[in-house]
């Protein structure tokens, strides 16, 4: 597979009165053409900031990308001029957000919003753009497209708006779509519809997808590869099977154990991760997960564990991986 996006040691910080927030603290990962990569982790761990950094959409001030590189089809996005990055956005890389209302313009018809993007990025005529807009709505399963195009965002339900957003995201034949919690605000039956739609369309059109979510079920169902984030860092990465069946980071294990599951017999008690996630302005030289970790040793207080190879395609950032393997053996 050809690498489409390569993020290397990306660092994004916010300079606030409470201190410097190390929101993204040296993350590296790649996305291959046509592949679905998930980013999971608890709220505040830097998922959205890492995605917004790719498109250089970090509000500046208070934020700034302070280091690293983002290579996308041979260009470092961090070195492009404002004009050049604007041409990447909306065309080669597009985004779908949790709340489509914030990214749709409430006073413009759906047609206007779709055709403007198409005309701008593809230098198409209005007529061509209109034809494409109809096609796109049909593609995302909105019937009566001609009529629906004349309507405004508030005429659409939450699920329908998300379909419109997907149509927009696909409008200029992008190579990569970044979907930030695209179904978090939706009910479970609508979530299933939207995710199936995204999966089948990206597959059919060969578009790569980065899906950001905190829902472990969604990840298991849709992702080829998974990056688990904690406190601004990727702490484990691998195939979905690596993450769900051979986790080598205590945080990943903790996440998996804390959710009740519909497919397994009911248990008496859940196993939560104790305490709270850390304050990102007060990270020290140790592993950020240490205060919540039952495997932590002295070394974890003073040395940040690097993301190390576990086996082909599977990486974890933990000094106590042997202890995890040992525990797994004892249990089985």
């Amino acid at each position: 597979m050809t690498v489409l996006l390569e993020i290397d040691d990306l660092r994004t910080q916010f300079f606030t009165s409470a201190g410097t927030v190390k929101a993204v603290d040296g993350i590296s990962y790649t996305v291959d053409e046509g592949e679905t990569v998930a980013i999971v982790g608890e709220s505040g761990c830097g998922k959205s900031v890492s995605a917004l950094s790719v498109l250089r959409l970090i509000p500046e001030p208070p934020g700034r990308i302070v280091g690293g590189s983002i290579n996308f089809s041979g260009k470092n996005l961090l070195e492009l001029s404002d004009n050049e990055i604007r041409n990447v956005r909306g065309r080669d890389i597009t985004m779908v957000f949790q709340e489509p209302m914030t990214s749709l313009n409430p006073v413009l018809t759906i047609e206007r919003q779709l055709t403007e993007t198409i005309m701008h990025h593809l230098s198409a005529s209005l007529e061509t753009a209109r034809g494409r807009a109809v096609e796109l709505l049909e593609l995302v399963g909105i019937s009566d497209a001609e009529h629906r195009l004349k309507q405004y965002p508030h005429h659409f339900s939450g699920g329908m708006r998300q379909r419109v957003m997907i149509a927009m995201a696909l409008s200029c034949e992008p190579k990569l779509i970044i979907a930030d919690e695209p179904t978090t605000a939706l009910d479970v039956t609508i979530q299933a519809q939207i995710l199936e739609l995204m999966k089948s369309l990206t597959k059919r059109l060969g578009v790569a997808l980065i899906i950001i979510t905190h829902n472990l079920g969604v990840v298991a169902r849709y992702a080829d590869r998974v990056n688990v984030m904690y406190a601004g860092k990727i702490v484990e990465s691998g195939s979905a099977a690596d993450i769900y069946h051979r986790a080598r980071h205590p945080y990943t294990l903790g996440l998996l154990q804390s959710v009740p599951r519909l497919d397994l017999p009911r248990t008496e008690r859940l196993v939560p991760i104790p305490k709270q996630p850390p304050d990102l302005t007060r990270l020290d030289d140790g592993c950020a997960f240490r205060p919540r970790c039952r495997f932590a040793t002295e070394r974890c207080q003073t040395e940040i564990p690097p993301l190390e190879l576990v086996e082909e395609g599977h990486h974890a950032a933990c000094w106590e991986r042997d202890a995890i393997v040992e525990e797994e053996r004892m249990v089985s």
Binding site: T189, G217, P260, E268, P277
Partner: protein, 343 residues
Amino acid sequence: MSAEMVKQETRQRMAQTDTTKPLVEIKNLKKYFPVTEGIVIQKKVADVKAIDDISFKILKGETLGLVGESGCGKTTTGRCILQLERPTSGQIIYDGTDMDTVDRRELNKLRQRIQVIFQDPYSSLNPRMKIGQIISEPMRVHGIEPDPATRNKRVNELLSVCGLSPKMADRYPHEMSGGQRQRIGIARALSLNPEFIVCDEAVSALDVSIQAQVINLLEDLRDEFDLTYLFIAHDLSVVRHLCHRVAVMYLGKLVELAECDELFDNPLNPYTQALLGSVPIPDPEIERQREHRVIQGEVPSPMNPPSGCVFHPRCPKAVDNCKEEIPGLREIKPGHWVACTEV
């Protein structure tokens, strides 16, 4: 504890609860919200049928789950029980007393026994009050523990019961994390020694690791204080974990009600089946093998619900008759109620 023992524990609990004497009994409850038009002269043009003739019981000591997609009427049901909303018709009988017929003094007494925990801990806590004040406020309002010293002692007790440090009494809500704020909401709900708590999406906004902490806390408190919960949630796996019986709502109607294991192992209403089939399982192997039948369409407007069975336009099993006949809730097996003519 093995899975079989967990099931057995639930069965024992159900056997012990006196089904003839429910704590809460809801009879033919309806709540319609008028939709008006016009600015000077407001004219009613339609009704939002938020709850449309539902009946069920909540037994003493049980946790009854109430699930369904947003807008199906879960919160309105809870608000009616809490007397925050006046039903359009129907009865709510609490411990043998019809809440509509009691005088104010008695209603006030009943209200002390019923508390609520909301989804959004932040918006339900007064930002200008210290945590200690927030927790003691209900005691002050109801004139319980008038002595400030004993009241403070009680606040400290409540904080530690909910896994918080008594030192937090002097801090403000904005200094707390989401999980801590939810614990404060729980401590406040417990301050009047209630016997019944409506948990409306009480853990839905929390991250999974923190959610598990709060779920365990709710379970501990239930055992320690013999609490009865109405547990409103849209997360089916959480409901399965916590509840003894589960009721499923769709568009203002009750479509299925059964003991927890029975409902999840043997769902009979096509809507319940569709809901369960839509939940992705956190295991890639299982997901690969699982058949994905996504149900089409969206929930129709409660202002203009479909004729007959309200689910028929989306139902994979609908027949012609479903467009006409409104299915009533029938007891198919002991304790398993379903509203579907095709079962």
